[in-house]
Structure formats: structure tokens, C-alpha cells
Symmetry: C2
């Protein structure tokens, strides 16, 4: 059943793609996962809300989860989009936050495994491998965040979109020569911190650097041209394969 749920998704999850369990034997990983409780969450449902007490740690088995903040004046910022293998809430737990600082919402139907937050505290003490992985996950999150700040500060909307598409191809293992966007354009726009209109207007300009978009379908015809157009701005990641 565990295997079925973990692997019977659109994209199978190789063990290397569960960062928290990297380097563990498959059997060992599965027995750890069995200590948690499955829970499913239909599309659009809120998993937890900003301000709710932090009680669990989650591993995503399938589907997509969106984390977002809501400012008092009603503006929403999507801060993360999580898919298979990602972990949720480790930051709140290690920072001793007793309340969530983001809302979490299911974008597509989601299945996740939940663990009491104490479980995580125990595992990092017991398993050196889990500890090491946890540190790497946290470090990685910070680095990605830093890259994001840098991009937001130096890149135009056009470049942000091009960069996002490139990253998506890698992260979702898509064929650059023709693929479907895995989620809605509005979601991507909020993730990139821009208005839907601005996002939409970028298509015509993107054609200029060899990216054709029609509906949900995207074709990146000339990856190197894109690279060249964007790379002048996207600097430091090259020093660190993440």
C-alpha cells in the first residue's frame, strides 16, 4: 500500500528524490514512513492556516501543495509549491514556532504522510543519516530563497518567467521541446511575485527568445538563447549545484 501510494503517481518517485531519506535503503525508508499516518486532502482544501498551532511534520506523497502568506491588507504571496518527496513544516519545528506562518492549500488532490512533530526531533537524534539530510534540506531551502531574492532584485519580469520555465523543465523532468504547464498560470504568477497581466504579457516577448506558449503548452526552441538572455543576471547558483 505504501509502495502503491508512493509510486502510483504521475511521476514515480525515485528514492533520490526524497531528500530527507536520501542514502537510506529502500526498506529502511519505507519502515520509517510507515510510522506516519496517511492523510489525503482534496483540491482547494486548506491543510493548515497561518496562525494555527504547529502539530505535525509532513511528507508529500502525491499532488501539489501551495504555501502562501496573507498580508493584513488581503494580498497573497505564494512562497512555495511542493510536490512529491518534499517535506513541510521542518522550519517551524526547528525554530520552535508554535504557530504556522503560512497557509497551506492543496492545488491538486494531495496525499501526504504526517508525523507528530516530536517524531522528527527523535529521528534526527537517532539516525545520523536523517540528521545530515535534514541539515542539507534546510541549507538548500535557504540557498534557494537567497537565489530568489537575487533574481527578484535584478531580473525583469520577462527574465523571471524564462528562468522559471527553465527551472520547471529540470525540476519536473519535462521535455523542453514541448510540455504542458503543471499548474495554472495564475499560480505561477503569484509564485513569481508578479500580476497575472504582467505574466500574460510576457508571452509575446518570450517568442523573441525562442519560447512559444499556446494555452498550457510551452515549447522552448532555443535553450541556449534563453540561457544567454537570462544568465547575465542569474549568477551565483553556478557555484553550487542545488
Amino acid at each position: 500500500m505504501l509502495q502503491r501510494l508512493l509510486f502510483n503517481t504521475a511521476q514515480p518517485v525515485p528514492i533520490k528524490d526524497m531528500p530527507l531519506f536520501a542514502g537510506l535503503a529502500e526498506s529502511e525508508r519505507d519502515s520509517l514512513l510507515k510510522e506516519g499516518r496517511f492523510c489525503s486532502c482534496p483540491r482547494k482544501k486548506i491543510l493548515f492556516r497561518q496562525g494555527d498551532p504547529v502539530t505535525h511534520f509532513y511528507v508529500v506523497c502525491s499532488g501539489t501543495v501551495r504555501l502562501f502568506h496573507e498580508t493584513p491588507d488581503g494580498c497573497e504571496i505564494t512562497t512555495d509549491i511542493f510536490t512529491v518527496g518534499d517535506t513541510i513544516c521542518e522550519m517551524e519545528i526547528f525554530q520552535f514556532c508554535n504557530a504556522h506562518f503560512s497557509h497551506a492549500e492543496a492545488v491538486h488532490d494531495v496525499v501526504l504522510i504526517e508525523f507528530p512533530k516530536l517524531w522528527l526531533e527523535e529521528k534526527i537524534q537517532q539516525h545520523k543519516m536523517i540528521l545530515r539530510n535534514m541539515l542539507t534540506v534546510l541549507a538548500r531551502r535557504t540557498i534557494l530563497r537567497e537565489a530568489e531574492v537575487e533574481r527578484q532584485a535584478t531580473m525583469s519580469a520577462l527574465q523571471l518567467v524564462a528562468c522559471f520555465l527553465q527551472h520547471m523543465v529540470v525540476a519536473h523532468d519535462l521535455d523542453a521541446r514541448g510540455f504542458e504547464l503543471p499548474y495554472s498560470k495564475s499560480l505561477i504568477a503569484t509564485r513569481l511575485g508578479m500580476e497575472l497581466e504582467t505574466f500574460s504579457r510576457s508571452w509575446s516577448k518570450l517568442r523573441g527568445i525562442g519560447i512559444a506558449v499556446k494555452g498550457k503548452n510551452v515549447q522552448i526552441n532555443n535553450p541556449s538563447a534563453v540561457e544567454q538572455h537570462v544568465c547575465g543576471r542569474c549568477s551565483f547558483m553556478e557555484h553550487c549545484r542545488v
Copy 2:
């Protein structure tokens, strides 16, 4: 000598302010620190450069260190400003990066303790307290970064400056009714991701919400007015004391 260097700074360092050693007895902390090597770094000197191999882990004893990225087209982004008690390079180490992705430069004359990067790996295995603190430090960094992304996305230049000044008062334990900026305006501007001109122009508008600036001197006359002007945008931190 250790004590002198650690405490003979403009602002003494209470043990609570060294996040990596929080909860340790003073003696225990000092004996750990003695395993490192002191090294001093005069103003303007580069501690390490983007792309340099990662060899050490650092704890700041005094002075101010600026981390910044440099994009291929020459634009500089200040990503962090570190002072007494802060740790540098844990992210690179835990992410197994073999090259620095930031430049590090001494803003004021700096004294730091350096440890081989293996030292850090060993200590987190040996000391449960250090491990716990390390996780907290990493989680905290990520959260602060996230807050930064949110601020950059939702706040105007004016609000960013007001917010920064408020944070600085808390972080440096200053008297809001009248204090000197601890570093240059240009540095602050690059840290806030805005041009010096924009930063400069904010003074006149800040007067409108009760903040008077003359040279390096700042007076926040009406903290609650500032709070009100900014808080509508600065949301999620209230759920998490960091």
C-alpha cells in the same frame, strides 16, 4: 584573551546572543571556541570571494561582515550583514558546496574565529545542543529570508526603510528616540535592494510618519505611527518570534 576579544567590543556579547552556543555553560562554550583560530581582517578586506573553495566555518567576534553577490553584469547585491555572534558558511558546508557563492567583505575591522569545516560536522554529531542550535540557526535564516521576499514583494521603498530602521533598533539594542546608524547609507541601500538615491529620498517622506534623519543620526519619535504605517504589509512574523 578569549574573554577579552569576545567581550571587549563596543557591544558586549551576552551568551544568549551566540545562537550556535545557546544553552551551553559559558566555560563549555569558551573551550569550544578555543579549538578555533583567531583571525583578523581589516576594513574593506575581502575575507573570501565568490567561487573560492569552502574551507572554514567562521564565528564573528567583533566588527561587521558584509556578504554580497556579484552578477556577471557587475551588479552587487548585499545579502547579509553579520555582526558579533553570527556564524558564516554553515549553509555552504551543509549543502556540500565546494565553492562560496558570495563574496565576504569586512565593513569595519573584524575579528573572527575560524574552524576547519570538518570541525563543524564533528561537533553536531557529538553535541546534541550544538546540533539543535545549528538546526535552529538554519531554520531561522530561511524564515528571515522568506520574510525578506515577502517584504520586497509587498512594500514600497518608504516602508522598507521604516521597517529596516525598526529592526535595527531591536537588533542593535538602540534607543529609538535618537541613535547613530551603525553603517553607511550606501550599504543599507544595497541591503534593501534599492538605489542610494531612492533611499535618500525617503527621508523627507519618513518625516511624515515621525522619523527624523539628519546625517547619521536618526530619531523615531512615534513608533506606533511607524508600526501602523508598515504593519499592514509585514504580516507573518508575528506568528513566530525570531
